[in-house]
Every structure is written in structure tokens, then in C-alpha cells.
């Protein structure tokens, strides 16, 4: 119980760090030095101490939205195992986890519409469009995971998969499907470019154009946490080997180190993907998601019909 809280707290606190690392890796790969890895913390601190400027068109959504978004992100962090799992927790239903993460999306899109800004509406509309296509993939991935482990509980799944020695090919295919979904869901390239403010490319950023001050800090923090959570979920579902299943110091230290290595590897993979692919046109995004969809279908077929 306490270890769960601690690991989740660590995840929350470390989340901006992962974003910073990702940015740094990208910068290095592109051949320039880039900001320090702790830059996201500085950004958040800076934003927190700035005054809030809100649009006069905005409603209570702008007031409560960021708070709820951040709360949802933190809450989902508490539902996710990071490096330890006992496998018998009361919490951790995958469905609840996924749906709580969708709170972030829901409020983000509303915030996009809230300040009567054209860009906001655009971003919101695009986000929803992508989300609609991504939903079947989620279903299939959850189905796959359930087929594999007969459980919806992520702690249990992680534990089962942690001790698993044989990894089927279906498992790998499903992992790729998950990865693509992860990219789409976290507004990374090639679905969205989180670095620019260009009308053609914006999805996520467009929605929060008119957000400033602590609100922006919350949202940035939330998206950093969200990315971290998604990666953690990914790791815990598909590559949980070395995860601590018992409360021994050695196991825990081993688990933390392995977790960090896995995290860094995947951040590297995302960075490589991001710098090597140009952003897709909006209407090509469904193709990408369709690819993910077919991976998932393939995974289920391999799992089930073989």
C-alpha cells in the first residue's frame, strides 16, 4: 500500500524529468545541445509564479479544467504500478485507468472550445477526430491483454507478465500497436507536433493557446505525467521483466534500475521516431491508427487462433 503510493509519487515527480530527457535526446540527435533535462521543472516553476491571464470569453471550464486535468493525471498515476507490484491490489482496473486518462482529453477539448478562439476549436475538433479512431485500438489492446492474462487489473497483469519467461510473437505485435496508440494519444509526432505553433500542425497545443500562468503549468505537468504513465503502463504490460514482486530491497533496487533503463530506451525510441518522421496530414492520421489497429487485430489473431 505505502510502497504503491511511494512509487506513484516518484512517477509524478519524475514525469517532467522524462519530458526533459526526451527533449534533450531529440536535441542531441538533431545535433544541438538543447535545454537541460530539468528545464520542464523550471518552466513549471516559472509558470506557477506568473500571473494568470484568461480570456474574457472563457467560462468556468477554464477555471476548473486545468485543476481537473492535473487531478486526473495524478490520480491515474496512483493507479499504476511503476516498479513494484503485489498483484493483489484492490485498485488498478485497466478500464478505469484508461477512462480516467480520457478525462484529460475531455477537458482539454472543452478548454479548446472555451475561449472562442478559432485555433482552439480546430485543435479540439482534430483531437476528437483522432480519439474516435483510436478508441477501437484501445479496445483491442485491452482485449489482447485480457486474453493473455485473464485479468483487467494492471497490477496483476504486470505481476503475471513479470514472471513470464516465454514471450510470444503476438505479444510483440501488440506492443507495437500499443506504441503507436501511445504516440497518437500523447500528441507526439507524426500525429501532432508538440513543438510548434503552426495552424497546419497544431492539435494539442492549439487547444491551450489561451491558457497561461498556473493553468498552463497544470496542463503541461499533466501531459508530462500522462506521457510518463503511458510509458509506464506500456512497460508494465509488455516488458515487466525484472519488476519487484516482493518487498525486498534488492528486488526493489533492481526493479528501479531496470525501470529507468527501459524508460530511457523507450524515450530514445520515441525521439528517433519523432525526428525521423514528418508530421502527417490530419487526414492521414487515421491511416496510422489503422496500422495500429491492424497490429492489434493481428496480435489477437495470433494469440487466439493459433
Amino acid at each position: 500500500m505505502i510502497i504503491n503510493i511511494i512509487q506513484s509519487m516518484i512517477l509524478i515527480i519524475a514525469a517532467p524529468l522524462f519530458s526533459g530527457i526526451l527533449k534533450r535526446i531529440k536535441a542531441i540527435l538533431r545535433g544541438y545541445e538543447g535545454a537541460p533535462v530539468l528545464q520542464p521543472y523550471f518552466d513549471i516553476k516559472k509558470l506557477l509564479s506568473k500571473e494568470r491571464v484568461i480570456s474574457k470569453s472563457s467560462s468556468f471550464i477554464t477555471t476548473v479544467g486545468p485543476i481537473i486535468i492535473l487531478s486526473a493525471a495524478i490520480l491515474s498515476a496512483f493507479l499504476t504500478p511503476v516498479f513494484f507490484t503485489a498483484g493483489n491490489e484492490l485498485i488498478g482496473n485497466m478500464f478505469i485507468l484508461i477512462f480516467i486518462l480520457s478525462i484529460i482529453k475531455f477537458f482539454n477539448t472543452l478548454i479548446g472550445l472555451d475561449c472562442a478562439c478559432t485555433f482552439g476549436g480546430m485543435g479540439s475538433s482534430r483531437e476528437m477526430f483522432i480519439y474516435m479512431f483510436a478508441e477501437p485500438v484501445v479496445f483491442l489492446i485491452l482485449a489482447f491483454v485480457y486474453f493473455e492474462t485473464k485479468s483487467f487489473n494492471i497490477y496483476k497483469i504486470a505481476k503475471l507478465n513479470a514472471v513470464r519467461t516465454d514471450i510470444s510473437s503476438a505479444h510483440i505485435v501488440a506492443a507495437i500497436a500499443f506504441l503507436i496508440w501511445l504516440i497518437a494519444e500523447n500528441a507526439r509526432m507524426p500525429v501532432d507536433n508538440p513543438e510548434t505553433h503552426l495552424e497546419l500542425t497544431m492539435v494539442h497545443e492549439a487547444m491551450i493557446l489561451d491558457i497561461s500562468g498556473r493553468d498552463l503549468a497544470y496542463i503541461e505537468l499533466a501531459s508530462a505525467i500522462k506521457l510518463a504513465i503511458f510509458l509506464t503502463i506500456f512497460i508494465n504490460i509488455f516488458l515487466p521483466f525484472g519488476m519487484a514482486v516482493s518487498l525486498s530491497a534488492a528486488a526493489l533496487i533492481k526493479a528501479v534500475i531496470l525501470y529507468l533503463i527501459k524508460m530511457l530506451v523507450f524515450l530514445l525510441i520515441i525521439a528517433i521516431v519523432e525526428i525521423s518522421i514528418a508530421k502527417f496530414r490530419l487526414f492521414r492520421v487515421p491511416e496510422l491508427i489503422a496500422a495500429s489497429f491492424s497490429f492489434a487485430i493481428a496480435a489477437i489473431s495470433m494469440m487466439y487462433f493459433s
Binding site: 490520480l75 482496473n93 478505469i96 472555451d114 480546430m122 475538433s125 480519439y131 482485449a143
Partner: protein, 591 residues
């Protein structure tokens, strides 16, 4: 008495559950109506409205309580009639009359199918009493197919299954909003009740073949209607389509339950049925909430076209908060009730697959489940569209600026419904486990106790609230330090803002229209003259392709048949003689 009219009432769980739904939802809607009807006082009769409303509610309760097929049909038809009169309540609008007539005809079709169904049941069992029928279902064993098909058509027409749905997006917008809330929230559930009563109880379960029919119909309905919902700009039309979508969801989960039941996978079957029943309750609550919200918008602004609205949050803040809760519920946002049942539905889809041996079945169920996942995505899309375009941003027309005050009773009604939505969501594990205890009866296991779902939702809700409170406190502290200022929207720096620069309802669903427009008959037209005008139109494809030809055909036939009344007496006399000769010959030959 030849026909047993005994006024015995059904007192089993199924009836009580649906009566609970009816009463539970109708109370806040009635409170809401108290204020809402005030608007009509000038032009229409309020007494008429109330009496019809009460009759409507009573007839629904009657349907659910009746233990006899004839009584059932009587109440069923009264329900149709009263709801018809409520739909055409605003008779001064010709469109309302048209859609009312369509509604009444469709509901009559549904009634006829049901009569056929009960006729067949009577034929094979010789009974009209439900309890006696259940004692005789061995007689029905080989005839379940035809009864099932009629039940599907009859109840499906009333519930709005594709392709029998076109009345739904017409009747719901035409009716006063409190009525649409009841029709969508409650009346459709009565149809679901009838279906469960006949298929699960009277027939005692049917073969998996029919389960698949149901599953596919439900999935098709959900897919078709959610895309149509996305493309609508009329709030109430959008909600009406979304109701049909939810009905599709419910029917497909019932289909799943039938499949599992006939494969003897009772545990999963109970879960599916529970999910279906629970979704009935939840959909009733949040759809009533959304319809009452749409009613408030209509009351305040006089329009239900999203492209004329916007920025309503300023003037009717309370309503917009309630509707936000409803929107979140329909978008399956935890811990609200929509989430509770929708996740249960998806869980039972996934769980069922693991138990089924046949690979073909698994494939079909997975495909349907995936399609329904897409539907869930579309549901969020349309819900956000409906809420965002209507309530947020700036007013897009004068109508949205000059707003009437909303009576307190309307707000009270909506507040109660929002409260329901939260309670049903947070305490969903209790409710689900409670329902599942009784649904076991309909799957032939008498004593069955299973907790499908842990109580984590409650725990998580508490956690959520704690976190929100903490962050709010943090925000307060921060706000004390930094001041908050209000300016014009920045939007990357342009400065003369006009309301029509905002995204419109059409624009919002434009990406989806590009992909799925053909399903909703989407048509875009750009006219470049002095100014550029863009027209976008949608229509119901099924209505155009299926209903209009039928109507044309009937008109054509009747045009032909009318010709026999030629007006000349000599021709009439020859009719008599010719008929005489033909029938004498036929009688001699054939009889």
C-alpha cells in the same frame, strides 16, 4: 372469460427494476416540467399537457406491470397515443405535425409487429398470461425464431433500431423537451423491457443465431446513428440520434447475453445482461439530463440550432454545469454513471470472448466490440461538440445573447438528474452487484452471487475528490500571490474578433464528415459569387433510400387503385356482374 383479462401484475425483478427507472427519472423531469411548461402558457393548453403527461407515465407503468399480453398491448398503444399527442403538442409548427404523424405510423407498425408476436405465442401456447406462458415454453421450442423476429421488429421499431429508427430524430426534436427527455430516457427503455420480457422470460432464451442477429443489428444501429449524431447541428436531433446509438449498444449487449446464454456460459451472460440493464438506467438518467438541458437552451434562447448559439455559460451557468455533468456522463468520464455501464459493457465483450470456444463466434464478437469502441469514441466526439459549441465561447447570434431567465424548478429538476448521474456512477459497484443477483434468475440460475466488479470506483472517486481539493487549495495559494487578469482572447495575436470566427458545429465535425459523410448523406456545396458561401447538408440515408421509395410506391399503387372508382354507373354494374361470374366459377371449381 375466453381471454384472461385478470389484472394480475408482474412483480418480478424485471418489472420492478423498470418501474424504478420510470419513476426515478420521471420525478425530476416532472419537476423540470413545472417551469418549462410556463413558456407554453400563452399559446397552448397547459392542462392538456399535464393530463397527457400523467397518462403517458401511467401507461408506461402499466406496460411494465401488465402480466397479460392483451393488457400489455393496450398499455403499449396508450403509451404510443399519449406520446403522439405530446409530440404534436406544439401543433402550430407544421414540421412537428409531420414528424408526429411519422412517429405515430411507426409506432403503429411496431404495435402490429407485437400483435403478430403475441398472436404466435398464443398460437403455440394457447395462453395470453405471461406466467402461464412461461410454464409452457416447451411448446414454443421449435417456434422461437418467428417470435424472436417479430419481437425484434416490434420492440426495435419502438426503441429505434436501424432501419426502423427514422421517427426518432424527428419526433424527439418536435416534442417539448421535457417530453423528449421522458421519451428518450424512459419510453425507449420500456421497449427494451418488453424485449427482455419476451425473449429472456417468455421464450426462456433463444438460440445463439438470434443472438448474433441482435448483436449485429445493435452494432449497426450504434454505428449508423452515432455518425449521424455527429453530423447534426440541431441539439435535440443530435441527442435523438445519440439515444438510438445507446439503444444499439443495449441491444447488442443483450444479443451478447443471448449468445452466451445459449452457449451455457452463464456467468458471462449474466454480466452482459446486467450491463444492459444498468445501461438502461444510466442512459435514462443522462439522456434525460441532456434533453432537459437542451430544453433549457430552447427556453432561454428560442433556438436549438448550435450554429446560432454559443457562450451560454455566462447567462445560464447552472444549466451549463448540469449539462456538463450529463455530457461527461455520456462521454463515459469516470466516476459518472455512463462510465460505469459502458465499461461494464466493454468488459463483458472482452470477457465473453475468452469463454467461447468457437473461433468464428469470437471473430464476430471481436468485430462488433471493436465497432462499438469506435461508437464510444464517436459518442464523446458528439457530446463534446454538443456541449462545447452550445455553451462555450461567444454567442453566434442575437438569439443567444438575449436570454430569458430560467425558472428555478427547471434548474432543480436538472440538479436532481445530475446528482443521480454522480451517485449512480460512484456507487455503481453496489448497483451492479445488486442487479446481477437478480438477473441470474433470467439466465436460469436461481441462486447466484457474483461480484463482477470490485468496489474500487468508490475508492477512486474519493481519491479523485481529495486530489482535486488539494490542487484547488494549492491554486488558491498561488492565486493569492499572482493576480488574475481578463483580456480579449489572444489567439496568436489577431485583434478584431467576430463571433462567427469561432468553430461552428459544422466545422467541428468536418473531419468526421470527410470520413463518414456518406453514412449521414453529407453534402458540401461551395458557391463562389460575390461572396463565398459554404453550404453543408445532411440527411438520413436510410430514410431517403428505404422509406421514400416505399412511400412513393404506396402512393403510386393507391393512385392506380383509386381509378376503379370511375364514376360511371354502367361500369359499377359491370363490376357486380363480372364479380358474380368470376366468383361463381371459382366457387364451383375450388370449393
Amino acid at each position: 372469460m375466453f381471454l384472461d383479462f385478470s389484472f394480475g401484475i408482474m412483480k418480478d425483478f424485471l418489472s420492478l427494476f423498470f418501474i424504478f427507472i420510470i419513476i426515478f427519472i420521471s420525478i425530476p423531469v416532472l419537476i423540470y416540467s413545472g417551469g418549462y411548461i410556463g413558456e407554453y402558457r400563452k399559446n397552448y393548453s397547459v392542462k392538456y399537457h399535464w393530463s397527457m403527461l400523467i397518462l403517458f407515465l401511467l401507461s408506461m407503468i402499466g406496460v411494465v406491470l401488465s402480466s397479460n399480453s392483451i393488457l400489455f398491448m393496450v398499455f403499449w398503444e396508450i403509451m404510443s397515443i399519449t406520446s403522439f399527442f405530446l409530440v404534436i403538442y406544439e401543433y402550430k409548427n407544421k414540421e412537428n405535425l409531420k414528424s408526429g404523424i411519422l412517429y405515430f405510423v411507426m409506432t403503429h407498425i411496431s404495435g402490429l409487429f407485437l400483435m403478430f408476436m403475441f398472436g404466435f405465442i398464443y398460437k403455440y401456447t394457447g395462453q395470453t398470461n405471461f406466467i402461464k406462458i412461461t410454464q409452457m415454453y416447451s411448446n414454443l421450442e421449435t417456434h422461437k425464431g418467428i417470435i424472436f423476429i417479430f419481437a425484434l421488429l416490434g420492440f426495435g421499431a419502438k426503441a429505434g433500431l436501424v432501419p426502423l429508427h427514422p421517427w426518432l430524430p424527428k419526433a424527439h426534436p418536435s416534442a417539448p423537451s421535457n417530453i423528449s427527455a421522458l421519451m428518450s430516457g424512459v419510453m425507449l427503455k420500456v421497449a427494451v423491457y418488453g424485449f427482455i420480457r419476451v425473449v429472456f422470460v417468455l421464450l426462456g432464451g433463444v438460440s445463439y443465431k438470434y443472438g448474433f442477429i441482435l448483436l449485429f443489428t445493435g452494432t449497426l444501429t450504434a454505428l449508423y446513428t452515432i455518425i449521424n449524431a455527429l453530423l447534426q447541428n440541431d441539439i435535440k436531433k443530435l441527442l435523438a440520434y445519440s439515444s438510438a446509438e445507446n439503444i444499439g449498444l443495449i441491444f447488442s449487449i443483450l444479443g451478447l447475453s443471448i449468445i452466451l446464454n445459449s452457449l451455457k456460459l452463464y456467468e458471462s451472460s449474466i454480466m452482459a445482461l446486467t450491463a444492459g440493464l444498468f445501461h438502461c438506467l444510466n442512459h435514462g438518467v443522462f439522456k434525460s439530463l441532456l434533453f432537459t438541458g437542451a430544453g433549457s437552451v430552447l427556453y432561454a434562447t428560442g433556438t436549438k440550432n448550435m450554429n446560432e448559439l454559443g457562450g451560454l455559460h455566462r447567462k445560464i451557468k447552472f444549466t451549463s454545469i448540469c449539462v456538463l455533468i450529463g455530457t461527461a456522463a455520456i462521454a463515459a468520464i469516470p466516476p459518472l454513471n455512463g462510465f460505469a455501464s459502458e465499461s461494464l459493457i466493454f468488459m463483458s465483450f472482452i470477457k465473453s470472448v475468452i469463454a467461447i470456444k468457437s473461433k468464428a463466434f469470437v471473430l464476430m464478437i471481436v468485430i462488433c466490440g471493436t465497432a462499438l469502441a469506435l461508437v464510444a469514441g464517436g459518442a464523446i466526439y458528439s457530446a463534446v461538440k454538443a456541449y462545447g459549441i452550445t455553451y462555450l465561447g461567444e454567442a453566434r447570434s442575437k438569439k443567444a445573447e438575449n436570454i430569458h431567465r430560467i425558472p428555478i424548478s427547471m434548474n432543480v429538476g436538472m440538479a436532481i438528474l445530475s446528482l443521480y448521474s454522480i451517485i449512480l456512477g460512484v456507487f455503481s459497484p453496489f448497483i451492479i452487484n445488486f442487479i446481477s443477483k437478480y438477473t441470474a434468475q433470467y439466465i436460469f440460475i436461481k441462486e447466484y452471487r457474483l461480484n463482477f466488479i470490485g468496489y474500487e470506483t468508490i475508492f477512486i472517486s474519493i481519491m479523485f475528490i481529495v486530489i482535486i481539493t488539494l490542487i484547488t487549495i494549492v491554486s488558491r495559494i498561488l492565486d493569492r500571490k499572482n493576480k488574475t487578469e481578463t483580456y480579449e482572447t489572444w489567439a496568436c495575436g489577431f485583434n478584431n474578433f467576430k463571433p462567427n470566427m469561432q468553430y461552428s458545429g459544422d466545422g467541428y465535425s468536418q473531419p468526421a464528415a470527410r470520413y463518414f459523410g456518406f453514412v449521414g448523406g453529407y453534402k458540401k456545396e461551395v458557391i463562389i459569387k460575390d461572396t463565398i458561401t459554404l453550404k453543408q447538408r445532411v440527411h438520413d440515408v436510410i430514410e431517403r433510400q428505404l422509406y421514400n421509395p416505399v412511400v412513393d410506391f404506396i402512393t403510386f399503387i393507391s393512385g392506380r387503385i383509386v381509378k376503379i372508382h370511375y364514376g360511371k354507373i354502367q361500369i359499377y354494374i359491370s363490376y357486380i356482374f363480372i364479380t358474380l361470374i368470376i366468383s361463381v366459377i371459382l366457387v364451383l371449381k375450388l370449393v
